[in-house]
Amino acid sequence: MLKKALSDCGIRIADCGLPIAIAEFGLRIAEYPIPKLLAAIAFRNPHSETRIRNPNSAFRIPHSQIRILPSAFRIPQSLMPYLYNTPDDQREMLRAIGAESIDELFAPIPADLQLKRSLDLPPAMSELELDRHLQMLAGLNDHAAKKVCFLGGGSYDHFVPAVVDAIAGRSEFYTSYTPYQAEASQGNLQVMFEYQSLITRLTGMDVANSSLYDGASAAAEAVLMALHAHPQRRKIVAPASVHPQYRETIATYLANLDAELVTLDCPGGVIDADALAATVDGDTAAVLVQQPNFFGCVEDADRASAIAKTAGALLISVFDPISLGLLKRPGDYGASIAVAEGHTLGTPMSYGGPYLGIMACDQSLVRRMPGRIVGETRDRRGKRCFVLTLQTREQHIRREKATSNVCTNQALFAVRASVYLAQLGPQGLRETASLCLQKSRYLAGRLCENDRFSLAFAAPTFKEFVIRDAANDVDGLLRTALEAGYLAGLPLAPWYPELSDCLLIAVTEKRTKAELDGLVHALSAAPARQEALS
């Protein structure tokens, strides 16, 4: 029938011989080879159909009926850069298996469940084409070298030393997997052990795991830890000065559990200690404190810690690793669990991920800590070595009773963080923190020379600050600054409607005085109120 239809259209089967169709497109209609042109069209538009007309009849060929030829030798090897098997190899292997074709190997999949067409995806690209395509797409983005970045809010444009890329680019690190076989993974295991050690030194905490996904999910895991540690207590208190996305993540994690997230307003930009004391009670499992907080303000962490302790609740500290070059460590103010977004330690902003979830805690909580942990031991010959340990906490052993479902860690970024911290050393970290502090405070001061701008909060800040626009035109400011080449800051309206006239500005050690002055100039030059664009 089809054959007739095709020949009615003047297409002779012999003209579009099977070998051509197989080699170039590998498509047939039912059992009949199809012309090259139709194959190409169908390949691109599998949901569509092609109408073939001749003077006597019109015939529609639904592309869904065109299917890939079931053959082991269909794919020209030249298209597949990572495959080894030549047609000869495939034949030989099939013979050893005792199968006629590769399709036979898929026979356990019932025929009616098999896909009878090609996936609706764009055709394969060579490396050169792919590179060109991605360069084009990357070129559409205003990255940090094109627009000066003053954005913060949990992701920061810190400098990444070359040595970090060099080490993390070792494929023995990035193409290995979880060190289940300790004898073949001492490199990774020692790095993880050293990472844990670096994090305990950085935070002043007893123990650290070998990392979680990111800061927000680490905070949520910390909350779950606290709830498990205090099974009778069901309340988590988080001030509004904790990153809104972290609070949202915690809320998601708690949605189906018998627990409540209580948000404490922070009209002054920092925790109101009296309000905190009034909120925290005997039902409170944990209190979160972000230091410096989402607004960049330095909290009175000692006070918050004392309030939590008095009520018998755990203090969860969300800290900025860079700030610890200057600020007290979570362990210094009595945090039970400390979590952080660790991308700032040697991983670029990468549009938000993958990042590094840092988690450290009290010794007493170690068996409730999620994620992988590496420990030191000896091998049979008495040599010091490292292994994954305390694995009974984890899902692969304890299944539904595990401390968490976390399976992977962010090992490669723990490598990056380790190299970064080693490269900076105590002095380098202090200087980096100091540059952030000095430059951000300089910028804040310069901006406030203009009557239009003022600091929204009186509390001292570290590397971020909230500026209020008396003209209440944050969007206009951002637009003007963008045109001048600056990503000037984050508008706070989406998270804090009451701060819709405010902008959160972050300054890292990368920003130069010229850039800071340039931003001041750009913002000061902004017209007080632009009419809405047509």
Partner: protein, 510 residues
Amino acid sequence: MRNTRDTQLLFDLSKPGRRAARLPACDVPERPPEELLPAGAIAAAAPALPEVTEPQIVRHYVNLSTQNMSVDTHFYPLGSCTMKYNPKRNERAAAMPGFADLHPLQPAETIQGMLHVLYEMQQYLSEISGLAACSLQPAAGAHGEYAALLVAAAYFRDMGQSEQRKRVLVPDNAHGTNPASAVMAGFDTVAVKTLKNGGVDMADFYAKLDDRIAVFMITNPNTVGIFEPAMRELADAVHQRGGLVYLDGANMNAILGVTRPGDFGADMQHYNPHKTFSGPHGGGGPGAGPICVTKRLAPYLPGPVVEKELRGASCEAREDEIAPFSPLSPRNSQLHRYSLTSPPKSIGRVRSFVGNVGVLLRAYCYIRTHGPDGLRAVSENAVLNANYLLSRVKHFLPVPQGDRCMHEFVASGSRLKAERGVAAMDVAKRLLDFGYHAPTVYFPLTVPEAIMVEPTETESKETLDAFAETLFRITGEDPQLLHEAPHTTPISRPDEVQAARQPTLCCPVF
């Protein structure tokens, strides 16, 4: 040359006064920190980090790296982990400043290229799974499972069934993340027995299936590398009871373009792009765990998701997007605008920002490199390689599931154990001596002395032959030699009991 010398700890290299980094001088007027910060907030001293030079750092870490086996250096047939080759072009692409140096909260108009990639990834993943909608948020496979179960919980809450539907059924050979995720999402888990061939025990399944079911989680192909024979029946039965079917996408490498979870009854699935789509494993991470769901579950997906607008109006989701010309050519960029939105009834976010974009970018490169036929060829060759290796191994290491598999198989060392006292672990350790990473052992728990082998498609017949011959040779070796293996690695077997009894988890500060 292999470096098997004692490797000192980073901290042992430290000497006061050494440093590797020099920061620029402060170019703004400085004030003492005590004037800028409250006295009570300032640390007495900087953290006790090691003081080392850059050459020390490089030598230390490069030497450590050589103590790892990795895909780039060794055959790594670690079952269920899909240790395939990690293309270098992907690495370079992800490092392009136009992708790597973007802040996650930049205005949408400054990141249209990035959003284009992410939007297309949503489309591709939906198409490969046969499911309508996609969220790229979750950071890992387990995180994806968890997010999808939260989606299910939100859906049932909306249906007014959250009190009734509390049970998640999980086959007993599933990854441990399945039951752990279910409990985190507030469900009770019920284990369903499996048969020797790895398929679900239907009698046990029906005994445990009732109107309390929320979700049935299934790994298909399952953890012994078999396509679930009763897939359709299982899915239909779950749907009939009003439950949802979750597909653990760990084994997608077997079925790309061959069959689609949405077509065989799944309502939700996650992907492991670091496995299936060649994002490197990074020594344990990062991965990513994007999820796809049916249309009725789409409103509950974690946000944000990328939306494409056509001159301000939301355009047809499946509009033809594969034209050979650039979709962002000047003509088109006036028509399209990408933005981030939160689905209307979203469960919320499960992490900060959009997702593990760097991993997704690599997966994007991989999918674009292969195209539809190439992806199918990936699965065909993965399945061919696994079956070939199975055919070579089964003669001396029985494979209880039978003569055929999908992308991996589970051999059993129980005969070896009974006859020669050699454990699966001994075999695994001895393989290291021959320069092979060990297969996964003792998983799944349902196969005694399990040796789980996944060769992947990016290995040659020659490698598989040599591996099979080595395995054969090992099964005949002196048991004592095997108990003490490995013999040539940087360390011999570690004392894990000591490590767990008296944990030393960090290097103390002196």
